[in-house]
Subunit: 461 residues, 2 copies
């Protein structure tokens, strides 16, 4: 057994472990949990949501949870200089935390089979803890949050990852959550509650590839994992999949201070080029949006709707609740173009402005495609042609769910396109090739990589 | 002459150099520049400012430069849960950049003697470039900005420091500027324009100690300088001043990834504890503020006033202009308590919420004291007693000007109090001791250290 191996190397070893004595069959576990509870999810008019009221904003009577307000945006980024939209305002900082522990020499991740009413596959793998203060302070009067103490009382704990990161900035205003990975000592016992199971990173990889099995909150936390770092060894020969081998090698490139500084200088250049002014306004002042029996919708049914949802469940903190949800138009795609350049796999990312970002723009996937946002072929985003790349270039195609606690039927196709070495790729100035090592360091540095790109990168673990 | 010495060591050597053949007498230079131009600065009613209009906001007819709007704040940080105030909105990202160059073996800083109408000492040392896009795109039709190209077209340049950093978040909403230090090769010639001079860091140190000689924008850029880093040598024996020696040694402590991560985890804990909701509103909806012949003021004359200023000058881009200014109530102090702990100088900083910060709170000095904000002794901030510390504990006391391009007569006393080793200091949970190495790395990482603390730290260089 290795005695002094780095955590990065251990994570890589875990990613190549497809099962252990500690782990259940992940699919069977999810199916069993789904079968063991009953759920009913039903759309209701916003006016009929108990405890919620609509006036100049849509808010909970407690003043907690979240609200839907209006936002007026002016920007010189992209083709639309000015618009208004509803946006979710949720100033609380939630905890998304995963416990990891080395068991019999292999790192295991403590995952929760969690029902979220908005997901098209209702029960998926979630982080160990996924909770806002409104949840864990039990504003709804429900059950307590298991394992919360490992993240709240973390003094002396081994923190593998701890960072505030942004979330869907087209739908949320300045939303961020605390992404945490806490490692327990091998000798520390921890009880395994119902709905929880240990999985290896290899099992999570497989679940991520299948799609709709690992929820958004777990994906953003997992994106903080690095396969490089001090003392990472060279046992890459064990990696059978040549694309995975390239990804792992790319983790080790571009991690120096100089590399990260150069990437940040480029990102600051982009922030300086574009302006974005976002102002909170009354829901009543959204000219192009209408309120009716079916919630709040764009008058041409574009972008998304705000609807009411009534949920009955037997496996959540409370058995019955109602809440507003945001339902995007369907067909969303995030696509990442990659290419071997100078012998190392690089990823083509863009600096993308989004109205809810705290600092104007962050790094995004090559294409972040929301059909409801575009009026026609003349209005397509750059590099949209790679959405139709040949099947032989496609390394990953999986449909993933966005946060099913806020978003209804929000499925996003995740696409990774590996363009052959030497094939020319033309991109505007706000696009840049980066190796995985740089992207991972930027994720770990805070508000630099948006959640859509982090979600994609987690699928490449 | 050393051949392979790190830049940190070279900066330290420069800080111990009090003059060279390249440098003027700094005081004489400022006096000469002041005498060579004539300035007239005069208060005028806001309504009489040409090109500015007051309605629900105070703005320039071009839509550029900046605006004054209303802000409504709710927070559970501090003793005031809710208030409204005017705030300056300036979404543009300005450049604050200093050129450095090794001349005859010593690093020199290219500084500009710059007049700013709000400063009580009109002409002070500024960064090489201090300009917003509205300035350098010449919205006012004025002269071009010298040396701008060294910062805008920086490809291939040696970037010593490049970061977006926040500014006075009680007066500005989400304001940030790009702080840059660019190093030229020894062999690259650069013309020396009027009003510009090379200074050593030692000269800047002396000017900083005297007060009102180095402007706010230069101070924030200088705060990015580190005396530690790869290959920094041990010639600290040359440092005669024992307190300076302790500061330099403290630069080398707390710089590891683990140290910075632990500090950030603590800061995220603080961000999670407190809430802050800031909403832009109309100037007309500020209940406690009145508009009159003397601008916009609080009805009890607290906090600050917004006034009009008419300026006539012969050394600026344009010879005559008018603009609104923010004039704070007088008596502002920032004080930093430090103490030798386990043999290393540590600084007691607090996580402080301010309404204009992008992410709720940043690190601030031990005491950030604005008498106009407090109603009486019961309302004093924690640790205010150190403002009256014995003279023998006081390592620095200098009055510095805030940005005289926006703030009128905004003088802040900068105080550093060195508490004897072992003397107990009691502080609330949102305070933490940090060595200079950690603080410097946090400055270099972005929005973690507020401008008031950065200004203080620059005085300790």
């Amino acid at each position: 057994m290795p005695t002094k191996v780095s955590r990065s190397a251990e994570f890589l070893a875990s990613s190549m472990t497809s099962s252990t004595a500690e782990t259940p069959d992940p699919d069977a576990f999810l199916e069993k949990r789904l079968a063991s509870s009953s759920y009913r999810v039903e759309e209701v008019p916003l006016e009929e949501l108990p405890d919620w009221r609509v006036d100049d904003r849509l808010s909970h009577r407690s003043g907690r949870f979240f609200a839907v307000e209006g936002l007026s945006i002016r920007t010189d980024f992209g083709s639309t200089p000015q618009w208004c939209q509803p946006i979710i305002v949720q100033p609380e900082i939630g905890i998304l935390g995963i416990i990891v522990k080395r068991i019999n020499g292999v790192h295991h991740f403590l995952m929760q089979a969690k029902m979220e009413p908005g997901n098209s596959e209702l029960v998926q793998w979630a982080a160990t803890v996924q909770a806002t203060p409104s949840n864990y302070q039990r504003v709804h009067g429900g059950r307590s949050t298991p394992y919360l103490e490992y993240f709240q009382e973390h003094a002396g704990r081994r923190m593998v990852f701890d960072q505030l990161l942004s979330e869907h900035a087209s739908w949320y205003l300045h939303k961020r959550n605390r992404n945490m990975i806490v490692e327990l000592p091998e000798t520390e016992d921890i009880p395994l509650s119902d709905d929880f199971a240990w999985l290896t990173l290899g099992q999570l990889r497989q679940q991520l590839k299948r799609g709709k099995r690992v929820n958004m909150n777990a994906r953003t936390v997992l994106s903080g994992i690095s396969y490089a770092g001090e003392g990472a060894p060279d046992f890459f020969g064990d990696i059978a999949d040549p694309f995975h081998l390239q990804v792992v090698e790319s983790h080790r490139v571009g991690r120096s201070e100089a590399d990260v500084s150069a990437a940040l200088t480029w990102l600051i250049d982009q922030k300086s080029r574009f302006s974005l002014d976002a102002r909170r306004i009354s829901l009543n002042d959204l000219d192009e949006w209408v309120r009716g029996a079916y919630g709040i919708r764009h008058r041409e049914d574009r972008y998304f709707r705000i609807v009411g949802l009534s949920v009955t469940a037997t496996s959540r903190e409370v058995d019955r609740w109602s809440q507003p949800m945001l339902e995007p138009t369907s067909g969303n795609v995030v696509a990442l173009v990659c290419q071997r350049r100078s012998g190392v796999l690089h990823f083509l990312v863009q600096a993308l402005a989004q109205p809810g970002l705290q600092d104007r723009l962050e790094l995004a996937a090559t294409v972040q495609w929301n059909p409801g946002n575009y009026r026609g072929p003349d209005d397509f985003p750059p590099l949209a042609e790679y959405l139709d790349a040949p099947a032989s270039w496609t390394c990953l195609k999986a449909v993933q769910s966005e946060d099913g606690g806020r978003f209804l039927r929000a499925d996003t196709t995740h696409l990774v396109v590996d363009v052959p070495e030497g094939h020319p790729v033309a991109a505007p100035d706000n696009y840049r090739w980066m190796p995985m090592g740089t992207l991972n360091r930027l994720i770990r540095s805070g508000y630099y990589v948006n959640v859509e790109l982090r979600s994609l990168l987690s699928c490449l673990l």
